[in-house]
Every structure is written in structure tokens, then in C-alpha cells.
């Protein structure tokens, strides 16, 4: 079985941008068909959808969580597979509830642009995934038995798909990288689908480090089939990082030898570990 966590970048500013060719309603319809296709693949396939809204992240739908009584409310339709209908109705309703409408009151009261909480959504997706994993691990530790390395973890094959429209938020660099490493540890593949907007360096790295794909749009196979059918590869991965002082993305910089903080220009005292750097004056500019 295969588990898919879908992370939707729901930045209203980007979606309500009239210059974009893709309307949000069209986009949502495509996403719904994609999710149906995922569920159609296998009876056991499961799904969790997280929305990254400006400043907050919300779990929109989870097929594992059957506690929600709302599922049964949906009128059955003889022409549609029931799980599809349940999913579509629930997701559409949740997004409508949570999606902030663009303020059309007056131009002066335009709200400040808030980056979407992608890291929060990613962290939540990983937490959900780990809840089974943690349980398993703890039992292993509790009984102090060493599992042979090839023991199949009782984990469904899982991947995360990030549908992104907004650019990198440099402030979230460290938490994002930490999330990526934990995804690596959990053997979760992160795929990134960039609908439009500039390429995001961080998400490219996320896809590269976890063995996923960074693409524009494609129906991707489950990770186990990827060794047999090739997937679109990323042509260029940017390994640049954000500097700590201005949160700019740089390709060469100065690194504190004590704490690995990255600076875009020589600083006399490291802002992270307060270490005095004595030889800064000798440095050549890069």
C-alpha cells in the first residue's frame, strides 16, 4: 500500500493573482482528479492532505482518520465511487472554509503579505507518518532486541507531494532542512511540483536529498516502481544556502568554524556563538 501526503501551497495572493493563467477552481479540480487517481491505484492507498495557509498550516483531510462522522453525511451517488465523492466533498468544503478571501474592501487596508507555513505543514505531515513508526520503534527499544537491518518496517510506502506556488522563505531554511533530514530517516520520498513562480532552491534540495522529483506536472509512480520506469530528473540542483545575517541566498560565503553559521560577508563576531573572529581583516572578498 502506498501513503500520499499532499501539501498544498494555498497562498491567496498567488492564487488570486489575475495575471496567472491557471484559475484556482481549475487547479482544485485537477488536484481532486489526481487524488482520485491515487486512491484508484490500490484499495488500501491512503491519503492525507495538508494546507499551508499564510501563517498557519491545517490538516484538511485524512483518509486514515475515520473518527470524523461527517464522512457518512455525503449522499451516495450511484454514478460515482463512494470514497472519491467523500474525499472531494470534504476537501472542497474545508478549503472553502479556510481559504482567506482577498480583501476587496479598499486598497489601503491590503493585508501584509504573509509567507505560507510550508514548514509547519511538512512537519505535521511527518509527525502523522511517524506516529506508526514511533510506536514500532519504541517497542523495539523497550524489549532491547536488535532488529536485523533488513527487517521490513511495518511502514507503508509513503511519499509527500508538495504543490508549491510561492517562492522560498529564507527564514524557514533551518527548520525546513531539519524536516528534510527526518524525511530521509523515515525513508519518505518528497516530490515537489512547482505550478508556477520562480524555482525554489530549498524544495529542489528536498526532492534531491530524499530521492524525489522536482517537476512541473506529471503523474508520478510509487517509489518502488521508480527503479524500473524512469522519472523526470531534475536538471540542476542548487545547493546554495541562506546566510544567517540577511537571510539572503548565497553561493559562497563565510562559515564560522565553531558553529557553522553562514555569513555573506566577514563579521568580527559570530552572531550565533559570540565567537570573536580575529582574522577577518585578512579575508579576501569572494
Amino acid at each position: 500500500m502506498s501513503h500520499l501526503s499532499l501539501l498544498l501551497d494555498l497562498q491567496p495572493a498567488a492564487w488570486h493573482d489575475p495575471t496567472q493563467s491557471l484559475q484556482f477552481s481549475t487547479f482544485l479540480a485537477h488536484i481532486l482528479v489526481f487524488l482520485n487517481a491515487h486512491l484508484a491505484q490500490k484499495h488500501e492507498n491512503s491519503l492525507a492532505i495538508f494546507g499551508a495557509f499564510p501563517g498557519k498550516s491545517i490538516m484538511l483531510y485524512s483518509s486514515i482518520d475515520q473518527t470524523k462522522p461527517a464522512d457518512r453525511r455525503v449522499q451516495p451517488d450511484p454514478n460515482w465511487y463512494q470514497p472519491f465523492k467523500t474525499l472531494d466533498a470534504a476537501l472542497t468544503e474545508r478549503i472553502r472554509e479556510e481559504m482567506p478571501q482577498p480583501s476587496n474592501s479598499s486598497e489601503a487596508e491590503e493585508p501584509l503579505p504573509v509567507p505560507v507555513a510550508l514548514v509547519g505543514a511538512l512537519a505535521k505531515a511527518l509527525c502523522c507518518k511517524s506516529s506508526t513508526y514511533c510506536n514500532f520503534n519504541r517497542i523495539i527499544q523497550a524489549t532491547k532486541v536488535e532488529a536485523p537491518s533488513d527487517t521490513p518496517l511495518v511502514m507503508p510506502e509513503s511519499r509527500i507531494l508538495i504543490v508549491s506556488v510561492s517562492p522560498d522563505a529564507a527564514a524557514s531554511y533551518i527548520p525546513l532542512m531539519n524536516s528534510i533530514f527526518s524525511a530521509q530517516k523515515l525513508k519518505v520520498v518528497i516530490d515537489v511540483c512547482k505550478i508556477y513562480g520562480p524555482d525554489t532552491t530549498f524544495l529542489q534540495q528536498a526532492a534531491y536529498l530524499t530521492g524525489g522529483s522536482y517537476i512541473r506536472m506529471c503523474f508520478l509512480q510509487p517509489p518502488s516502481v521508480r527503479s524500473l520506469l524512469a522519472v523526470p530528473t531534475t536538471d540542476r540542483v542548487d545547493f546554495r544556502a541562506a546566510c544567517f545575517c540577511h537571510k539572503d541566498i548565497i553561493d559562497a560565503g563565510y562559515v564560522c568554524s565553531v558553529c557553522l553559521s553562514i555569513f555573506c560577508q566577514p563579521v568580527p563576531v559570530c552572531s550565533t556563538c559570540r565567537y570573536a573572529h580575529l582574522s577577518t581583516r585578512l579575508m579576501r572578498p569572494i
Binding site: N36, Q41, H43, E44, P76, N79, W80, P152, S224, L228
Partner: protein, 488 residues
């Protein structure tokens, strides 16, 4: 090590239904593909690569060159990819994959409809809603809003299914469990899983055969060791094969099965839209435990979990054994051939009893040991050593899963050796040639027999040899010719 049955499934044989579908005519398949629910169910039965190919092509309007898709295949993937294309073309989903890739238009339209919803084919079952409101008032509290509850459905399906299996497993013994219905018995007999017990007075007459006791065949023993999911499909496949004789329309039968598999568990459906054939099936499937009805004349029906998980690869049957063993295994096997089975399910115990010498029984535990005699008994019943081993592997307790290899090697090897032991004697039909008058005669005939390669055994001191039956006429002719020559 593959983590997932799906990963391993690439090398495994395709689903049992696929070869059956491949043998069907093109028109039948095309008719089948007009219903979205059938498309969805068949899609799920396909292997992962096939599914990916279908998905890649589904939203394309025109055909694409096969080279385009070939470019995606890695070196290791060539062979599985080839077989996948082959399968798809045989079941007419992707006709002519050699040149231009284009999905069967019917399949494409229906499957798209399945994903996006719409249409008016009612292929996912008409729910019993129209009269629900008034019905609820009439029946009062007894009728819940959403039909029978899940526990009830599960226990019903489990009871039906285990009745069948239990009947099979205990047929040879004295105990007489509940008999399944006549339809089920007929199916079991037709499929060769059970055979009529030869009555003491020679061959039974046609009339007595119907009532006579059935006995499990060696095929049946093998059947018992399969996973429930395989068992279910095996029976359904037999059912499908019988369809032609019963003058039923195969496409309608398949459509109904697939419709059941896409229905919602715990919901009631109306049989109003069903064809005559499907109404007949309704009754049959009720006997197998796939469908639940309050009364046989009831105006609504609910699929059970057996039906709704038809297209899932891992059996999500109602956990057999009352839920305490769960879907995971329950068997612990030690290197000293002792076996502990944490179960109180009479069916599981009966199955174990096929090849294990059971020693003691506790409320939740059965202890036994695998002995030469117990395994030989099973082998004599037609069960193969590999089947025993695979049964032990699939039902191994989670504690056992930490071992590598899963089962103790000694036990595995010993079971195989016991099987080989049975094969020490090989029987071959043939003739013994003896009483040759002279050594020269013997030598000439033997040389001739060796020339045509039929000698199985020879002893020159006793002047006799044994040759296979097919060489007999030649050798006889040779001897006769020789003796004629000598007489002349």
C-alpha cells in the same frame, strides 16, 4: 528485501483473474469496459507498472509513439515493462502497443468517468435511499439509518466463509460440521476441491451422488493453505467458469462482481436495477458470504467486507479467529520442530492439524510438533512441502519476523527432505524381459533396447532387463524377427 507486497508483485504472477480475462473475446471485454466500476476494479487488479502505463496514457487524446514511452524504461525495467505491455494488450486495454500507444476508447472514457464522476450508468450501485425515509418510519428503531452495522456484516461474512472452509477441512473426519448450501457444495465439487466419497457398494449412482458425503481432494488440501484472498478468487473463478453452462451472461456477472467491489461497506443497495442474471447471482453470492440480506426476499442488499475488498491485494478480511489473532500471524515455530499457535479458531486449528501433530490445547494456544508422520500424512493428502512452508511463513507470529530467515532452516530443510523421501521410489510402467536362452541372445536384445533408449534396469548375471512400456512393441518385434530368422 521488499517492504511491500506490491514491490514483490512485479516479479509475481499477475492476479488470477487476469489470465481469465485474457481468454475472453474482444467484444466481451469491450462490453465490460463500458462500465466505470468495472474499469476501476480491473485497473486495481493490474500490476504497478501496468497501472502507471495506463495512468500516463489516460489523459492523452491522441496516440503517442511507443518509442516515447520506451524512453522512460530503465535497463532493469525492460523485461517487466514488456510483460506489462503484453498483459495490457491481451486484455484489450492497450491494443497494438507495438506501434502507437492508445488506450481502448471505451476503457478510457469509462475510467475517466470513474475518476471524475458523472454519467448515468449507475455502475457503482444504486443505494437504497428512495424509500428509506418511509421505511425508517415503518420499521421503527430496528432499522438503522445506514443499514446493518459493520460488526454484524463482518461476523456474517466470517461465519459463511468459515462454514465452507470448515466443512472442507473436516470432511474426512468423523465430526460433521454445518453443511453449506447445495450451491456451494456443487461449486466445491465442480471445482475439484472436493470429490464424492466412494460409497462402500462400489460406484455411486447419479441420484445417490447428490446426497452422498463429499470428501476433500488433494486440490482441496492445497486450497486450504492459501491465503483467504486467494481462496476467494479461486472459488469465484470457478464460478465464472460455470457461468457459461448456466446460460448466464459473463459480462453481466463480471460487472456485478466489480460493482460489488466498489460499493461502500455498510450501506444498503437496491436490487431494482439489476438484470435477471444478476438477481440469480445475488442469491449465490449470499451463500458465499459476499452479500448480506435481511431476508431472501428483501428489497435491498449490502455487500460484506469480503465483497468490498475483492480488488485489494492484501486481504483485509474480517480478521479470522474473532479478532484476537488479528491479521498478523499467530504461529511460532522452533528449531526443535515444536510449534506454538496462538489461536482459538477451530478452523485454523483444523488446518494446522493437517500437517502438525497437535499435543495440547489451551484457551488461546495450541502446542504441537512437526513430525515425520504428520508431514507424511499431509504429503499423502496431496499437500506439497512448499505449501506447508509458505503457510507457516504467511502466518508466522510477529515475534518470528525478527528472525532471519523467518523459519528455522533445519525445519524447512527437513520438511523438504521428507517430501523427497516420498520420491525415493519412482514407478515406471514397463516389461521385464527374462529367460533368455543364451547370453548372446540376451546381449543382442539388450543392445537393441539400449539403442532405442528404453532400458530402465538390467542384470546380465540373471540375464534379464526391464524396459519401459513404450519400447515393448519394438522389442517384441525385434525378438520375433530374430527368432524367425533363426528358424529359417
Amino acid at each position: 528485501m521488499p517492504k511491500d507486497p506490491e514491490t514483490a508483485g512485479q516479479q509475481d504472477a499477475p492476479h488470477t483473474l487476469i489470465p481469465f480475462l485474457q481468454s475472453q473475446s474482444q467484444t466481451a471485454l469491450t462490453r465490460l469496459y463500458t462500465r466505470p466500476s468495472s474499469c476501476l476494479a480491473i485497473f486495481r487488479l493490474l500490476g504497478p507498472i501496468e497501472r502507471q502505463i495506463v495512468m500516463s496514457l489516460l489523459w492523452l487524446e491522441g496516440p503517442i509513439a511507443s518509442q516515447t514511452l520506451n524512453a522512460w524504461v530503465t535497463k532493469e525495467g525492460r523485461k517487466p515493462y514488456g510483460t506489462a505491455l503484453d498483459t495490457l494488450s491481451k486484455i484489450q486495454i492497450l491494443p497494438n502497443p507495438g506501434t502507437r500507444m492508445l488506450l481502448n476508447p471505451n476503457f478510457k472514457a469509462s475510467f475517466r468517468m470513474a475518476l471524475t464522476g458523472g454519467g448515468d450508468l449507475n455502475s457503482f450501485g444504486v443505494p437504497y435511499v428512495s424509500s428509506k425515509e418511509k421505511d425508517a418510519e415503518r420499521d421503527g428503531a430496528g432499522d438503522k439509518k445506514f443499514g446493518p452495522n459493520l460488526e454484524h456484516l463482518d461476523s456474517y461474512a466470517l461465519e459463511r466463509w468459515e462454514t465452507i472452509l470448515h466443512y472442507m477441512v473436516s470432511s474426512g473426519t468423523d465430526s460433521t460440521p454445518q453443511r453449506p448450501s447445495a450451491g456451494v457444495l456443487y461449486l466445491l465439487q465442480r471445482s475439484g476441491l472436493m470429490q464424492p466419497l466412494p460409497s462402500p457398494s462400489g460406484y455411486s449412482t447419479a441420484s445417490s451422488r447428490k446426497t452422498s458425503q463429499l470428501q476433500i481432494s488433494s486440490l482441496g488440501f492445497q486450497f486450504l493453505l492459501h491465503t483467504p484472498h486467494e481462496q476467494l478468487w479461486e472459488l469465484l473463478l470457478q464460478y465464472l467458469k460455470m457461468v457459461e453452462e448456466r446460460q448466464m451472461d459473463l459480462v453481466e456477472v463480471l460487472n456485478f462482481l466489480f460493482m460489488l467491489s466498489t460499493m461502500d461497506l455498510g450501506r444498503e443497495y437496491s436490487p431494482d436495477n439489476l438484470t435477471q442474471t444478476q438477481l440469480v447471482m445475488l442469491e449465490d453470492l449470499r451463500d458465499y458470504g459476499l452479500i448480506w440480506q435481511r431476508k431472501s426476499s428483501s428489497k435491498r442488499f449490502s455487500p460484506t467486507r469480503l465483497a468490498t475488498t475483492l480488488t485489494s491485494s492484501t486481504p483485509l478480511l474480517p480478521s479470522s479467529g474473532g479478532g484476537n489473532t488479528g491479521p498478523q500471524g499467530f504461529i511460532i515455530l522452533e528449531t526443535n520442530y515444536r510449534l506454538y499457535a496462538y489461536t482459538d479458531n477451530p478452523l485454523q486449528i483444523a488446518v494446522l492439524n493437517l500437517f502438525v501433530h497437535l499435543k495440547s490445547r489451551y484457551p488461546n494456544l495450541v502446542v504441537g510438533s512437526i513430525t515425520r508422520d504428520s508431514v507424511r500424512k499431509a504429503l499423502n493428502n496431496g499437500i506439497r512441502a512448499d505449501q506447508i512452508i509458505s503457510y507457516l511463513v504467511t502466518h508466522a507470529h510477529p515475534q518470528m519476523r525478527r528472525n532471519n530467515p523467518l523459519l528455522p532452516v533445519t525445519v524447512q530443510d527437513q520438511i523438504r527432505l521428507w517430501e523427497l523421501e516420498k520420491n525415493r521410489l519412482k514407478s515406471a510402467d514397463g516389461y521385464l524381459y527374462t529367460n533368455f536362452a543364451a547370453q548372446a541372445d540376451y546381449q543382442v536384445v539388450l543392445d537393441y533396447a539400449k539403442q532405442i533408449g528404453v532400458v530402465l534396469w538390467e542384470n546380465s548375471v540373471k540375464r534379464c532387463f526391464f524396459a519401459s512400456a513404450e519400447g515393448h512393441s519394438n522389442i517384441r518385434g525385434f525378438i520375433e524377427r530374430r527368432s524367425k530368422d533363426e528358424q529359417m
